[in-house]
Symmetry: C2
Subunit: 410 residues, 2 copies
C-alpha cells in the first residue's frame, strides 16, 4: 500500500532537492518562435539514476543514447530540447551524442553522465547549431530557482507548466522529491511515458530507485491517456543525489515506503496535470474503479473508459451519456461480471448515480448536466465483484484537439 | 486465397437474391423525426442462417434473443429498429421478444425464425407501442425492390446508404449475394460488427455458411475502425435461401470458394463504405501493409495506423505527417523489424514516398499536400520482412466527429 499521508507539498520543482540547479531558454529550435526550447537540469554531485522508456518500437535517438549512458546507473545532468523529437532521422544518434558532449564540456562533467531527451515533430533533422550556440548561456544561468524555466522549455502543445515537489521525513531528516513533466498529445504511456524529469536528495541505491520508479509509474503515468497514441520519445527518469545524508535505502523497509509515498505524490500529480492539459481539453476526467476481481482488471477498465472517444466527446458536452461508459467497460480486455456494475458521476457541483446492477436508473438529466459542467469530473465505477481498485486520468475530446493536430506541422 | 474476379456487381441490395423482400418506414422510434426507423427483411422460404455478434460484455437485448433464435441455424426474417439500441434496459429481452412475436404473427411465420436487431442510444427504454402499431403497414408493403427503404431505416448518424449485391456463377446457375449495413460511430468491430444484413439464394449448409461468414468478416468488417469503440449491438448475419437450386455447398470446394469470393465483394464494399461514412469523416483511409512476417502482424499494423487519432487528424488537414504513421507502426502490438519499413502515400491525385528504411526522406510538402487533398487516401506500408499482408479501412478525425458525439443525445 502506498503511504498517502507522509509528505508535504513544497515549491521548487526539480530544484527542491538539495544540490539541483536548472534553467531553460530559447535557442531557436522552435523556428520563428521566442518560446523556450532548451533545458538543463544539473546536480552538483554524481547521482544514482534510473529511467523507464517508451515501449514503442520506433525509439527516438535520445532514448538510445540515454539507455547507453545510464548503463552504469549514474547521471549528473539532463539536457532536453523541445520543438523537434530527433526521431527517425538518419543522423539522430550522432546529434543526441553531440548534445551530451557539448553540454558535458560546458558543465565540466563526463558526457556519459548525461541524460538526453528531445520532444516535438518526428522525422525532421535536428539542427545542432542552435543548441551548440545556446548551451554556454544556458549553463551559465543554472539556478536553484530555475525549475520553472526548465519546465517551460520542455513544453510543446502544453498550455500549463507541470511541476510538483514534496518534502518527506526519512530518519528524521527533511528530504525532497520533485519533478517537471511535459506532454499534451501522443499520450498513452505504455510502461514508460512522455517526458518526466524527477530529482531527489534521498540516498537510495540503484536497485531500490529503479524499483520505486517502476512501481509508482505503473499507477500514475501508465494510467493516463489523452489520445491513445504511445509516443516514440517517452521517458521518465529520476536522479537521486543522496545529499539528504540519510542512511542509504537498500531494501524495502519503512524508509523505502516513505520514499515511494512521496514519489507517488509527485508523479501522480504530474500525471494528473498531464491529463488535465491534454490537447484541446476543457475537463479532467478521473475514473475510479472499485470492487474489481483484482487491481489489474480495475486498471484495464479505468483506462478503457477514459480512452473512449465517444465518452470523451460526451463529457465535452456535459452529457451524462452513461451508455458509453457501460459500452467501454464492456469492451475492456478483462474478465469480470458486468451484471452488478454501478456507475456514479461526481464533481464539485454534486453527484448522481446513473446506472445500477448493469441497467440504467432514472435520474434528472438537468441535475446530471449541472454535475458535469464542472472542469474536473469523477467517474466512480463499482463492479461489486471483488477488492481490486484503480484510478485512471484522461480528458474530454474537443474541437480543439482536432484543430491542434490538424495544424501541428503547418 | 480469395477469388477476386468471379463476380459482377448488380442492383437490389438484400433483395437481389431470389425470394427476398424488404421494407423500411417511419413508425416514431426516432422521436420528433420523420426518418425511417423500422425495417423488415423477409424470405419466402425458411433459410439457413448464421451470425457473428459483438464481443462486448455488455450485449444488447436483441443480440441475446437472436442468439437464442438462431440455435437451430434457421431464420426467415429480420426485424430492425434504429433510434434506440434496446441495451442496458431492465425490460430489454421482453421488448426484443415482443418485436419477434408481433412481426412473426404479421408474416405468419414462427417467432423463433426471426433475427432481431436494434441500434441507437444505449440505456433508454424502447417503447414497443410505436413498433407494434407500425408492423402491419411495414409487412404489407414488403417488396422485392424494398432494399433501399430497409437500408435507410437502419441508419442512425450514417449519411450514406450502404448496400451492395453481386452475381456469382455456381454450377452454371446465376446466384446472388447482397447486403445492407449501417454504422458510422462506435465502430471498432471485434470479431463481429455493427449491423450488416446479408442475403443469398445460394444453397449452402449451415456449417459452410458460418465458416464463410467468419472468414470474410475477419478481413472486412474486423479491419474497419472509426473511433475505437466496440459497440454493444454489433451483429452481422446472413440468410441463405437455397432458391438458386445449386447442389448444396457442403464442403470447401471450388463452389465454396466462388461463394466466398462473392461474399467478400459484398462485405468488403459495405465495410469500406462504413469507414468512408465514419462520423464526421471527409476522407476514406485505406491502409495496405505488405512484407510483414505474417498476415496477422500485417493486420495489427494496418488497423493500428488507421486507428491513430493523431494520424487521422493530420489526414483531415491533408498534412503528410508521416512521423505519426511510423509512431503508430511502432506501438502496434506485434513483433517485426521496424528498421526496413517504407511508407508511401497515394491517391487519385498522385503518390509520394515519405519514408524509407525507417527514416524520413526528402519530399515536396506541396506535392504531398496535393496527393492528400483527395477524398480517398491510400497508405502503403512495406515492412520488407516477409510475405504477410493486410488491408484496413478508416477515416479522418474532424471537428464534425466531436460535434456529432457531443450532441448525439441532446
Amino acid at each position: 500500500m502506498i503511504k498517502f499521508d507522509e509528505f508535504e507539498f513544497v515549491d521548487g520543482g526539480v530544484c527542491a532537492a538539495a544540490g539541483f540547479y536548472a534553467n531553460g531558454i530559447n535557442v531557436g529550435v522552435k523556428k520563428g518562435s521566442t518560446k523556450k526550447d532548451l533545458a538543463i537540469i544539473y546536480s552538483d554531485v554524481k547521482c544514482n539514476a534510473a529511467a523507464l522508456y517508451t515501449q514503442n518500437k520506433v525509439k527516438g535517438a535520445p532514448i538510445i543514447v540515454t539507455q547507453q549512458n545510464l548503463k552504469d546507473g549514474k547521471a549528473q545532468a539532463i539536457i532536453v530540447n523541445s520543438g523537434n523529437a530527433n526521431t527517425c532521422n538518419e543522423n539522430g544518434i550522432e546529434i543526441a551524442e553531440k548534445m551530451c558532449e557539448l553540454s558535458a564540456k560546458e558543465m565540466d562533467i563526463s558526457k556519459d553522465d548525461i541524460i538526453v531527451a528531445s520532444t516535438g515533430v518526428i522525422g525532421q533533422p535536428l539542427n545542432i547549431d542552435a543548441i551548440e550556440k545556446g548551451i554556454p548561456t544556458l549553463v551559465k544561468s543554472l539556478s536553484a530557482s530555475g525549475s520553472l524555466n526548465a519546465c517551460q522549455a520542455i513544453m510543446t502543445t502544453d498550455t500549463r507548466e507541470k511541476q510538483v515537489a514534496v518534502e518527506v521525513n526519512i530518519q528524521g531528516r527533511r528530504c525532497y522529491i520533485g519533478g517537471i513533466s511535459k506532454g499534451s498529445g501522443m499520450i498513452n504511456p505504455n510502461m514508460a511515458t512522455m517526458l518526466a524529469f524527477l530529482t531527489t536528495d534521498v540516498a537510495i541505491n540503484n536497485e531500490m530507485l529503479k524499483k520505486a520508479l517502476k512501481r509508482v509509474n505503473d499507477i500514475t503515468y501508465n494510467m493516463v491517456s489523452v489520445d491513445g497514441d504511445t509516443s516514440t520519445n517517452d521517458m521518465v527518469c529520476i536522479m537521486a543525489s543522496g545529499k539528504a545524508n540519510n542512511d542509504e535505502i537498500i531494501k524495502e523497509d519503512s524508509d523505502y515506503e516513505t520514499f515511494v509515498g512521496g514519489l507517488y505524490a509527485v508523479m501522480m500529480n504530474l500525471a494528473r496535470e498531464t491529463a488535465r492539459d491534454g490537447e484541446g481539453a476543457t475537463k479532467l476526467l478521473e475514473c475510479f474503479v472499485i470492487g474489481a476481481p483484482d487491481d489489474d482488471t480495475a486498471k484495464v477498465i479505468a483506462k478503457t473508459v477514459i480512452s473512449s472517444s465517444l465518452f470523451k466527446a460526451a463529457m465535452f458536452a456535459s452529457d451524462a451519456n452513461w451508455g458509453r461508459i457501460l459500452c467501454a467497460i464492456g469492451y475492456a480486455q478483462a474478465e469480470f461480471d458486468i451484471s452488478r456494475v454501478s456507475v456514479e458521476l461526481a464533481s464539485d457541483l454534486g453527484k448522481i448515480v446513473v446506472c445500477a446492477e448493469g441497467s440504467g436508473i432514472n435520474f434528472s438529466e438537468k441535475a446530471a448536466k449541472q454535475v458535469l459542467s464542472a472542469d474536473e469530473i469523477k467517474i466512480l465505477i463499482d463492479l461489486k465483484d471483488g477488492e481490486g481498485k484503480a484510478v485512471a486520468w484522461g480528458c474530454d475530446l474537443t474541437y480543439d484537439y482536432v484543430k491542434i493536430n490538424a495544424e501541428y506541422r503547418t
